[in-house]
């Protein structure tokens, strides 16, 4: 195989990874005559591709929060800096997301913006879905299925409906104008699906549901790992007032 071609391909990809992870860019002699603006554009596309892979782990969050938000950027920055995508695509690696985060030290974990809130929320949904699919909530009472997301938000199960309300005090994507948003999550017995309805703050009402989507994911090792992280209390809750009733 061509040694020059191999070196060029190595330099090109390393340059793009360095762009994304914020590492110092070395002098890549084979890229001297390249249009760096366009290379940087493709590096940002590389991030975009990986962000969408995160929906395997954070399906609800990624649906409602702009992929350019600081949490996803933070995860990917560390992914590119410390792990380097290898072998299979990240889509597959994302299934082993817990192994990746397990390598983070406490400092990195604590600095991950909103991670505790988001992981808690995703875990809550996963638990509810898992319970529903396994029929353990059919005869459950409100008390047994109460799940606290944060001190100021909660997931409540009433009869066969699962409803979760929370509002963000600030948006995750700092480039957008701050506005309040709300989510209502409900699961009815007939559909066997968790439906997520997004309603605007001004129209926040059980009866005004703007749109709905369907989710389906099993209680897998990622979820178990998330639970482990939460139980370890390793994640700093820097934004206690992020969610509230």
């Amino acid at each position: 195989m061509s040694k020059n071609l191999k070196e060029l391909q190595n330099q090109l990809i390393k340059y793009m990874v360095a762009t994304v992870s914020g590492e110092d860019k070395q002098e890549y002699d084979k890229l001297i005559n390249y249009n760096k603006k366009r290379l940087n554009l493709m590096a940002s596309m590389m991030v975009g591709n990986h962000v969408w892979s995160l929906e395997k782990i954070l399906p609800t969050t990624i649906k409602y929060i702009h992929p350019q938000n600081d949490l996803f950027q933070y995860i990917l920055k560390h992914y590119f800096a410390y792990r380097k995508p290898s072998g299979d695509t990240f889509l597959l690696e994302a299934r082993n997301f817990y192994e990746f985060i397990m390598q983070w030290n406490d400092t990195i974990l604590k600095q991950a913006p909103y991670l505790k809130d988001i992981l808690s929320f995703e875990l809550a949904l996963a638990n509810v879905k898992y319970a529903y699919e396994n029929h353990t909530i059919r005869y459950a009472t409100r008390e047994t299925l109460y799940y606290s997301l944060t001190p100021l938000s909660q997931l409540v199960i009433l009869n066969y409906d699962i409803r979760c309300f929370f509002k963000k005090k600030r948006v995750f994507n700092l480039t957008l104008k701050p506005k309040k948003q709300s989510l209502l999550i409900t699961c009815d017995q007939l559909s066997h699906q968790i439906r997520i309805f997004e309603v605007s703050d001004s129209n926040f009402s059980l009866l005004k549901m703007a749109q709905h989507h369907f989710l389906s994911y099993p209680m897998n090792k990622n979820n178990k790992f998330i639970q482990y992280l939460i139980e370890r209390k390793i994640l700093e809750n820097r934004y206690e007032n992020l969610f509230y009733w």
């Binding site: 195989m1 061509s2 071609l5 190595n10 591709n49 990986h50 995508p85 749109q211």
Partner: protein
């Protein structure tokens, strides 16, 4: 040579699974990504297998990286073969690009320098793929935003060279052609004229967006009139078997996909009718 009436379909995406299943009658065929099949749960693989009993499947992938200056990933080829078998796939396609080097996989289709050395690597790897799979293999032209300064061949010359020497057929992505022709300033119709005759077996169409600086390959818009025009022109020049509409975003407007598939069917129907008329009215020498 017999004239194919191309089968028309869309790329299967999990987010629009229900919409696709509810509209199967709108498609002759579906395209499945090897990477989605591989990454999916057992349950999702079962769904793919059930669909394959209702509609023919063509297989596409993004992670083979035929342009990487290294041996082809035999493990990935094994996965492709398993998927072909599970879904009775008719054809398998990949991109003429590279996505990874040792230790790093970008998941991004990066352009190859259009040089003899890069062609040699791609030809060797494609031959290896063809030797190890049991269905026809097509190579797709990618969209790209930067050019390697040392390139010796034009885009179409490079695609032709690799396909000619490796024996691969061509998957012509018409949206990529449209985007590249604008971003890199060339005539897309001349590109189509120069393609190897009767080698375009497979076509992709999609809709992208226009920014102040560049055309972007986003796969989330309705097909543009330019794409329809280029498709009509391609169908006059080539004889493809499959046309797949790719959609990767704005899934709430999935009806646009159905509408566009109907429009493609209409283009095929009219084109076929015109070709028949030409045959009937052609003077006998």
């Amino acid at each position: 040579m017999s004239i194919n009436i191309p089968s028309v379909g869309c790329g299967f995406r999990g987010k629009v699974k229900q919409a696709i299943l509810n509209n199967l009658e709108s498609f002759d065929i579906l395209e499945v990504m090897v990477d989605h099949y591989l990454a999916g749960s057992d349950n999702s693989r079962e769904i793919f297998q059930k669909i394959s009993q209702q509609l023919p499947i063509v297989l596409h992938s993004v992670a083979l990286s035929v342009g990487t200056a290294a041996q082809i990933d035999t493990e990935y080829i094994n996965i492709v073969n398993r998927t072909i078998k599970d879904l009775n796939a008719l054809v398998y396609s990949e991109h003429l690009s590279f996505t990874k080097v040792d230790g790093i996989d970008t998941r991004l289709l990066l352009p190859l320098p259009r040089t003899s050395a890069a062609a040699e690597v791609a030809i060797k790897n494609v031959k290896s793929v063809k030797e190890n799979i049991e269905v026809p293999f097509c190579l797709e032209n990618i969209s790209y935003y930067f050019t390697h300064p040392e390139s010796q061949y034009s885009e179409v010359e490079f695609l032709n060279l690799v396909c000619q020497e490796s024996g691969a057929d061509i998957l012509l992505d018409i949206e990529n052609l449209r985007i590249n022709s604008i971003n890199h300033h060339y005539d897309p119709y001349k590109y189509i004229d120069q393609l190897l005759p009767n080698r375009v077996q497979y076509i992709h169409v999609a809709g992208g967006i226009t920014t102040a600086e560049l055309e972007l390959d986003t796969h989330d818009q309705k097909l543009s009139q330019t794409v329809f025009d280029l498709l009509k022109y391609t169908l006059k020049k080539q004889n493809p078997k499959y046309i797949i509409l790719e959609r990767d975003g704005r899934f709430n407007d999935f009806l646009e996909v159905i509408d566009d598939c109907h429009l493609i069917h209409e283009i095929i129907r009219r084109g076929h009718h015109e070709q028949k008329l030409e045959r009937i009215t052609k003077p006998i020498n």
